[in-house]
């Protein structure tokens, strides 16, 4: 697992300049608007995309096949992207909270927003990774977009039917990370099954 995470971090190191630039631009936009929510949402979703970035480079280079010829298990390979994703989302959630506080948001508002964004990013990661493992990054990109849009439309439709305003949900935001982590756990089970049968 350690070798896989080092590989991923070294891949991301090559893209660190563009990552920092994007975060800086988002921070400036949030600062001008006087709300940290914009920065928080985008940066946390960006965290979710980190393992997908390394996966597309893995696919291109054939490093997965190489790592499977080294003392690395299939389960470790499948899990390493979840670990990287959760680390990325958690780190960018903490950064999001810090940025919101600097911009002038209240602590409760910042923590609630981060909890909600963390959960959504975790759930999206949980949906996307098994799709990528099964279909490859190119096909999974299209399928993921369809899944995201359908999910958001369905949630919006149900909420409007029940007459729930999103503001009313702020109180349950703090419980959402548990839901996100539960979704990830279910996703891990599916991914391990995919990798068990996978041929390299």
């Amino acid at each position: 697992m350690k070798a896989l995470l080092i590989k991923d971090l070294l891949i991301l190191k090559g893209q660190s300049k563009s990552l920092l630039l994007v975060l800086a631009v988002w921070f400036v936009i949030s600062f001008i608007n006087g709300s940290g929510l914009f920065f928080m949402v985008l940066s946390i979703i960006y965290g979710m995309l980190l393992p997908l970035t390394t996966l597309s480079i893995d696919e291109k280079s054939g490093v997965e096949r190489y790592m499977m010829s080294a003392p690395v298990t299939r389960a470790e390979l499948a899990l390493s992207r979840y670990v990287l994703g959760v680390i990325g989302i958690a780190a960018l959630s903490a950064l999001g909270v810090a940025a919101s506080l600097v911009i002038g948001d209240g602590l409760r508002e910042a923590l609630g927003g981060a909890a909600a964004c963390f959960s959504i990013a975790a759930l999206l990661l949980g949906v996307t990774l098994p799709l990528v493992y099964k279909f490859g990054t190119e096909k999974a990109r299209v399928i993921s977009i369809v899944v995201y849009v359908v999910t958001f439309l369905a949630v919006g439709f149900i909420a409007s039917r029940l007459g729930i305003e999103l503001d009313e949900l702020t109180g349950v935001f703090f419980a959402l990370p548990l839901l996100g982590l539960a979704g990830l756990a279910a996703s891990v089970v599916v991914s391990l099954g995919i990798y068990k049968k996978r041929e390299f």
């Binding site: 070294l10 090559g14 280079s61 003392p71 298990t73 390299f200």
Partner: protein, 281 residues
Amino acid sequence: MVNAMEVRGLTKRYERFSLDAVSFTLPSGCIMGLIGENGAGKSTTIRLLLGLAKRSGGEVRVLGEDPETAEPKFREELGVVMDECPFPESFSCRDVGRVLAAAYRHFEPEEFAKMCESFGLDNKQRINDYSRGMKMKLSIAAALSHGARLLLLDEPTSGLDPVARDELLDILLDFIQDERRSVLISSHILSDLEKACDYITFIHKGRSIFSEEKDLLLDKYVLAKGSEREIAALDPDRVVGVRRGQFGCEALVERGAEGGLVTERAGIEDIMLYYIKGDAE
């Protein structure tokens, strides 16, 4: 003599291609060349030997273990060189060393650095800027840097210039000076294999045509030259294939079956070509 690899009836079925009952044995301390045209099944065989794909049938023992069920630590003793450099293009030699150090318990960083230096690989240069030969040398340095007992190389010489190919063969010959070590190398550049290999396994259309000691194989066949009538008079059971030219015919025949015709030494390449040609006819 202990065998580094034992393969019996190795079979893998795909929708459009099947590897059909491939068998061979690689004794320790030897180099085996896996030959065959593109698409014959060489890479599939190597993937199955590494446990990267699941076989449909047959038995495989690599260093005494079944690669499909062996613990991951079994792969500590395998050095693998793929047909393409498997490391991301943004990596440098140093980055590759960091990943290997985390992956292999017996990785020797100094040995790896020394090899990279002797291959003329800049520690900080990105793989993106490497030539094909440099990428292959990096893959070889990686395979040799963690105390492997068995090297599996899939088409390592394709795209290399003759000097680089010769250097690689020297490295392999040096590697098996220790008799506990062995090499399986696939290639379609047969002159290379003829120089370095002790055993040759020929795969054609997914089937192993022969797996023999190289010297015995070279001794077994000759190229017989004559008119079409003279060639036609040879024992057809002992003729592998016939090539018809403008000025006569040439046939690959078992030694002793040439019937007084003029003969020439048959190389591995001749043997492979005549088998394929014979099959096509």
